[in-house]
Symmetry: C2
Subunit: 127 residues, 2 copies
């Protein structure tokens, strides 16, 4: 339920020291990033782009563009959406989407470890 900033990056504590952002690049630019992956998870949770976007305080327009970007760059779509029908339609995370989520969080976790290691070295050198 936490708010996500407008750049689709995680809110980071502004504690001095090494910091950074990571993402997975695709053919058209960013393929997977923190905000995108959280969006995927929210869609899995709510089954709706509209609800997922609202839960992140993100505009539907922006959410849709991110999903479209991911789907275009992936071999197979990460999200499959349907208009009309019961409840007006909805969206669902595919197996490919599930794999993308796992892939990114693994990368993300290793980066956090990397930053922590760097923090030890760098804070020593500051004074």
């Amino acid at each position: 339920m936490g708010a996500i900033d407008r750049n689709s990056h995680e809110k980071r504590k502004s504690s001095p020291g090494p910091s950074g952002r990571i993402w997975i690049e695709g053919d058209e630019g960013t393929f997977l990033g923190y905000g995108r992956v959280v969006l995927l998870e929210r869609i899995r949770e709510y089954g709706s782009i509209t609800k997922a976007a609202k839960s992140m305080e993100m505009s539907y327009r922006h959410a849709w563009e991110l999903i479209d970007s991911m789907n275009r760059q992936a071999d197979k779509p990460l999200i499959e959406a349907a208009t009309g029908g019961k409840g007006g339609g909805g969206a669902r995370l595919t197996d490919e989407g599930e794999r993308a989520i796992k892939l990114f969080w693994k990368f993300y976790a290793e980066f956090q470890i990397f930053l922590k290691e760097q923090s030890k070295k760098i804070t020593l050198n500051l004074n």
Copy 2:
């Protein structure tokens, strides 16, 4: 002599795979980043904020703000500037600035290694 983009991050090849940006956070936000460190080096080279900014295709105003931000957040100034005098004045990199440059490039180099390692793991998982 290469052009630096407007966000003060290095121009990165858009090759698919793990990517990212790093910086060193200070009390007011970014303290050292790629663009800032290149700016420091250019000032060391030219002895002038004006010339350093031009060489990076950066506005003087922006360059000055970056320098001011770094100087305010560091224990001792990284850049010392003088108005008037021979040649109208100039700017010079301090020893503290020299250390900041080394510190950042070390961090940067280790991050490149980290990305390369991650690339091996991730490209394997894509197909």
